[in-house]
């Protein structure tokens, strides 16, 4: 009887350990990412997130952060082809996490962010296509969770960078950023590992709209 009790306990322990393991590792990488400055540092952390994502194929968060770190990295690189290659990698991780959690607002918000990164490589030639894609993704993010502040921040950022004549500009962006700032101030992630980025950038953009 006692022996029978062991095995389930043993496995539960293992499971809890594994869970704790990925959360601890991810949390540590996230803290480092916030403090990182150079592309080399971000590359190392994107690598680390990727390792966790590869080792935890059933968890959406590691893949989400692996994608996020690569998007951040893309903005820090100089060569256009490198930036595209890094974004291709980000997209594969994002696709993985979308498969695991297809109704997650954060994933569509990140998809919108990824499309914005594509636009920034060549706004003139890509603007038309990727603006539409970014807006579609962000609208979906908003539908899935109207309280997600990142959606409004990214919508604001989208319109902020869009030329006035095709429906962008500061005036259009401002209400989105105001909403974003308001929603950031009340937003409490259910656990510290859930996405919480974007607040300071939203504030900075809003101040540029004034």
């Amino acid at each position: 009887m006692k022996k029978l009790l062991f095995f389930p306990l043993f496995f539960i322990t293992m499971l809890v350990q594994a869970q704790g393991h990925f959360q601890a590792a991810l949390g540590e990488a996230l803290t480092d990412l916030k403090a990182s400055q150079t592309p080399e540092e971000v590359q190392a952390l994107a690598n680390k997130m990727s390792r966790i994502a590869e080792a935890e194929p059933e968890e959406w968060l590691p893949a989400y952060y692996a994608a996020y770190a690569h998007v951040i990295l893309s903005f820090m690189l100089k060569e256009d082809h490198q930036r595209d290659a890094v974004l291709d990698k980000a997209q594969t991780y994002l696709d993985k996490s979308l498969k695991l959690k297809p109704q997650e607002s954060e994933l569509f918000a990140l998809q919108g962010f990824l499309h914005q990164a594509r636009i920034s490589i060549s706004p003139m030639s890509r603007g038309m296509k990727y603006s539409g894609l970014a807006l579609t993704a962000l609208e979906k993010a908003k539908t899935l969770n109207p309280e997600n502040p990142r959606t409004y921040f990214l919508l604001g950022q989208q319109y902020f960078n869009m030329p006035q004549m095709i429906g962008g500009g500061k005036e259009v962006a401002k209400p989105f950023l105001t909403t974003a700032v308001a929603k950031f101030s009340v937003y409490q992630p259910a656990n510290p590992l859930l996405p919480s980025w974007g607040q300071s950038r939203a504030l900075a953009l809003l101040s540029k709209c004034e």
Partner: protein, 723 residues
């Protein structure tokens, strides 16, 4: 109590406190011995790993024991996997990563190729450039005509490439040939491309030396790549001074469907702007189309495009042989075009592309009493397999078949016995081609294409080769060579005399330098023609004997310069082509320069965003040196030259949004400065009483052509605000 102890022990064990640690360290470098910085080195399926530092070194510890797989990966390199045994002590490890050339794409084959793409970095143009080129009036062929290698032939409106006739350029949509790429027209009324530039995301214009995948084109291939899934659901309305169109696009997650209708009529415009031609029925056309896209899997895509067009025009053309009696020419055209393609990655490294296209083209011409009714059915099927071999070779093999049934009925008068023209031809082709990266700086593309025509009862084997070598960081040289075969036109085949494939051999040398949004491209070429069709009269209608004994050559130098940097919000390109060509073909009594070939062609395209008025302005200046023509009143052949052709076109697009819906107001006008352009001269076929042949210049229908358009796209669900 005993249980508790055991449990604690187990907990301790799983926590790994008691586990021994192994140290893994080493260095990662590339083939040149340079350290690879930022590579991810880790144990497969585990967190344990590290990134390489500035010296390419990595170092990490693992509590794992036994055999493990060490993975070394970095962008632009093939991922390396190595089995290691952690029970043993690890000495310092050394790894050399091999570059993934396909992923790097450092060197590109650029000889003869001009690409317009929104995605590829190597592209020199984007599809937007095509739409916004002044003078092109949103016609793909018109915009391509500002690129080097093309000669402007105003009365035709078609593409003439490097001394080649217009039929020598073939248009392909998603790899499948288009049987009738231009709107039907009568002599001296220029035609336009049938397809809207908005249907495509990418275009590649090749003025020679193209891939073995494409056949039945002596001079040039224009490759159009259609869009994938429509981005969003929307309704599009366009109102133009020459017509209107309406489209509805619906997008689902993996499916999109677009339906559109179009009506064009030049009557109101031509009533307003005096025309030199004597129109009986001004050009009128109706078109409907369906675009369907289905994403069948993560990598699979099914595309269908179908369009049906009818058009009608009629005008009185003066007959120089009977000056008192102008001839009424009436043309009715129906064109059905269906194109389906399916692409899927079958297995890792195996991609399959298949396609099917069907065209039915019916042309009914009445010229005076004569009637010509021509109907052509064309079927095409193609299957292509792409296979990646190792990290440096991509192999493409495929099969293609074309079935053509051509029927023509010609009656000189209603009472006369009609003559039948009949051509049934089946063309079978097989091709194989490989992209081989020989190191980081050199890529070669050898290819072979075998074709057989049942009508000609002949087969032809075309070898092709293209090589590109990177000279320095921004510049590369590229060379292309190949044999190209094309079945003669139906107008000759219908006489059922012994003809062969027409043949061209291309040699192309190209230098290209791209840096900092500036591109310089210089290309020289030599092209030899063999087995061109010849016949025994100056005019085709009088010919009775046809053979394949014609020949010719074309050679030239072209320069292209594009600068998107120097002018803020501005962009310009200059292209210049120098052409020397002579040929003996058709009814030529001796070798001569054909009428479509001009020695110098220059285009200057300039575009500027004018932010204060939210307007995108484009202007195109074109210069074409005089073209030869034959004057029967003088000795010799093709002995005269027309005056130079000059044009300055302007267009402006005002971009705005009405209630958040993107709206574009577009205006364009050709030949702003009102140059009197003459394309050539037509002479009577019989001399008058004084022994002189009457003459008439070939001129545009009107000096200028102006277009006004309003394009509105209403996006579904755009009204939502920041709530």
């Amino acid at each position: 109590m005993k249980t508790f102890t055991l449990l604690s022990f187990l907990l301790l064990l799983t926590s790994g406190v008691t586990g021994a640690q192994s140290l893994l360290q080493g260095q990662v470098q590339d083939e040149a011995g340079q350290p690879v910085i930022g590579a991810n080195v880790y144990l497969k399926g585990l967190y344990d790993g590290a990134s390489t530092d500035e010296t390419g070194h990595f170092k990490f510890t693992s509590k794992q024991t036994g055999p493990q797989t060490l993975v070394i990966s970095f962008l632009g390199f093939s991922t390396l996997e190595r089995e290691i045994d952690l029970t043993k002590t690890q000495s310092s490890l050394r790894f050399t990563l091999k570059p993934d050339y396909r992923q790097l794409q450092m060197v590109q084959i650029s000889a003869g190729a001009f690409e317009a793409s929104d995605e590829k970095r190597s592209a020199l143009l984007t599809s937007r450039d095509i739409v916004t080129t002044a003078g092109a009036t949103a016609d793909i062929m018109g915009a391509i005509n500002t690129l080097p290698g093309t000669q402007k032939v105003g009365e035709e409106g078609k593409l003439f490439v490097r001394g080649g006739d217009s039929y020598e350029t073939r248009t392909f949509i998603d790899g499948l040939p288009v049987a009738s790429p231009y709107n039907a027209s009568v002599p001296d009324v220029p035609s336009r491309g049938r397809f809207s530039p908005f249907l495509f995301t990418g275009m590649a214009f090749s003025s020679g030396g193209y891939s073995a995948e494409y056949g039945q084109a002596l001079s040039s291939a224009l490759l159009l790549q259609s869009q994938d899934l429509a981005e969003e659901s929307q309704t599009g309305i366009s109102l133009m001074s020459v017509g209107a169109s309406f489209s509805r696009t619906k997008r689902w997650t993996n499916t999109s469907l677009a339906v559109s209708g179009e009506y064009n009529n030049l009557r109101p415009y031509m009533a307003l702007v005096p025309q030199r031609q004597n129109w009986l029925h001004m050009p009128e056309s109706r078109a409907g189309s369906v675009v369907f896209r289905q994403k069948t899997s993560k990598t699979g895509m099914l595309k269908f495009y179908g369009t049906y067009t009818t058009s009608h025009l009629a005008l009185k053309q003066s007959d120089l042989d009977h000056p008192t009696k102008a001839i009424a020419v009436d043309l009715q055209n129906q064109n059905l075009f269906l194109n389906t393609t399916y692409e899927e990655v079958i297995r890792e490294k195996w991609t399959m592309q298949t396609g099917f296209t069907y065209t039915y083209n019916q042309e009914d011409i009445a010229a005076g009493e004569a009637r010509v009714n021509t109907g052509t059915h064309t079927w095409n099927a193609k299957a292509l397999m792409i296979r990646d071999l190792g990290h440096a070779v991509t192999l493409r093999t495929g099969l293609e078949t074309q079935q053509k049934n051509y029927r023509q009925l010609y009656a000189e008068t209603p009472a006369a016995q009609p003559r039948h023209g009949l051509v049934d031809d089946q063309n079978l082709a097989a091709f194989a081609e490989a992209d081989v990266y020989l190191g980081q700086k050199l890529v070669a593309r050898p290819g072979l294409r075998l074709e057989r025509s049942s009508f000609l009862n002949q087969q032809a084997l075309s070898p092709r080769l293209a090589v590109a070598y990177q000279l320095h960081r921004d510049g590369q040289v590229s060379f292309a060579y190949g044999h190209f075969y094309q079945t003669p036109e139906n107008d000759y085949l219908k006489h059922h005399q012994s003809l062969r494939f027409e043949r061209a051999t291309h040699y192309i040398l190209n230098y290209q330098r791209t840096a900092d949004k500036r591109t310089l491209r210089v290309e020289g070429y030599y092209k030899r023609y063999q087995n061109l069709v010849r016949y025994n009269a100056l005019q085709l209608q009088n010919a009775t004997e046809f053979n394949s004994h014609g020949h010719g050559y074309a050679r030239g130098v072209e320069v292209f310069w594009r600068d998107q940097k120097s002018i803020r919000h501005g962009d310009y390109w200059v292209s210049y082509s120098l052409l020397d060509t002579r040929r003996l073909y058709k009814g030529f009594p001796k070798e001569a320069r054909p009428s479509f070939a001009s020695t110098h062609n220059l285009s200057l395209v300039y575009k500027q965003m004018v932010n204060p008025i939210k307007t995108y302005v484009g202007t195109t200046f074109s210069y074409t040196s005089g073209r030869p023509y034959h004057n029967p009143n003088q000795e010799g052949f093709q002995q005269n030259t027309t005056k130079n052709y000059l044009d300055l076109s302007l267009n402006a697009s005002f971009l705005t949004s009405i209630k958040g819906h993107s709206t574009i107001l577009h205006a364009s006008c050709t030949n702003l400065l009102g140059f009197n352009n003459v394309f050539g001269y037509r002479y009577s076929t019989t001399p008058d009483a004084q022994g002189q042949f009457a003459v008439q210049p070939i001129v545009p229908g009107a000096k200028r052509f102006a277009l006004l358009a309003l394009l509105i796209s209403v996006n579904d669900g755009k009204e939502e605000s920041a709530r």
